[in-house]
Assembly symmetry: C2
């Protein structure tokens, strides 16, 4: 691997599109079926337009321990009913692997929980680092009305993604807009 040279790239703000992108993921409303609490609002929105909820710009590296996978996550502003736009959320397939987020722009929350049902919801704002310890599922939520939530993330190369558990169960906590501002509420649909 000695021909595997160091490299660098720039994350220009406000565009947030890095100068190197190996893989660009676009997640639209249709990819989030069953994830938002208000299914009626979801179906009505989807019938109108398959909106782009978030994008991920990935930098590819070998998917082995010792390497670090990284990229930029951009969650767009918006709501499905009263629930803010968010990422699918996932556990790592290798559960004992952490993830780091550095917030570049915007406002939001990281919703997290363990397989034992311990929950954490942490606010995110620019200049903050969030550490997701091994074993915690995580989902980012954009709560700004106008601005994207932009984060730089990194995790061990062997981590892998388990989306299925969250797709099936959901998270315990929802991030909603209430009459007095942002509300963190229990998810009545959470399935054990």
């Amino acid at each position: 691997m000695t021909d595997d040279r160091p490299f660098r790239f720039t994350i220009p703000i406000p565009s947030a599109v890095p100068s190197r992108v190996d893989h660009h993921i676009e997640r639209r409303l249709s990819a989030m079926k069953g994830q938002f609490y208000d299914t009626q609002a979801y179906e009505a929105m989807l019938a109108n337009e398959d909106l782009l909820l978030y994008e991920v710009y990935e930098i590819k590296r070998p998917e082995v321990a010792g390497e670090l996978l990284m990229g930029i996550s951009v969650v767009h502003p918006g709501k499905v009913g009263r629930e803010f736009f968010m990422t699918k959320g996932h556990y790592h397939t290798v559960l004992d692997t952490a993830e780091i987020y550095y917030v570049l722009k915007g406002e939001g929350f990281m919703v997290m929980e363990t397989p034992e049902g311990i929950c954490a919801v942490e606010p995110l704002s620019p200049g903050q680092v969030l550490y997701v310890p091994p074993r915690w599922a995580h989902r980012s939520v954009c709560t700004s009305r106008r601005e994207d939530l932009v984060t730089f993330f990194a995790y061990p190369g062997n981590a892998g993604h388990d989306y299925g558990t969250i797709e099936q169960k959901g998270f315990h906590k929802l991030v909603m807009e209430g009459p007095d501002g942002i509300e963190i509420t229990d998810n009545p649909r959470w399935r054990a």
Copy 2:
């Protein structure tokens, strides 16, 4: 480890001192004996004052694979003779582990090489991410005359630090101030 909750901290710019610090390292001129090319200039400076060259603010995590260790590195501006202030530089003890740097402030270079003697010297400026692949020793150099070089770094928890190899051999490349600006030159003292 379910009581091991997610946490976050802020990196305020320009101070760069993170809101959470578990360990603060200060490296002074006296800790860099034999590292700068101009030994006469080094001894003269040291006789005058044991200057602070760089600081590291570490966030502690268990030192095991799957965790990520992280912190803030602050290299102060200055020179020993014509050679810019720099970090000691190191290999990882577990050679097959990478490191990520995100540049928050300042200007400089990352000087890197492999055990086989392949070299890379990459410029650093704010908004850039530098990926140091597994197997590459690395040292950061501050080339600004007035501003600190501030980077956020992260690497696998099991990586470890091997400072001895670089202390003994040095890096192949030096970052110097020349008559026409910054010069990347071969290190005549490099030892195989």
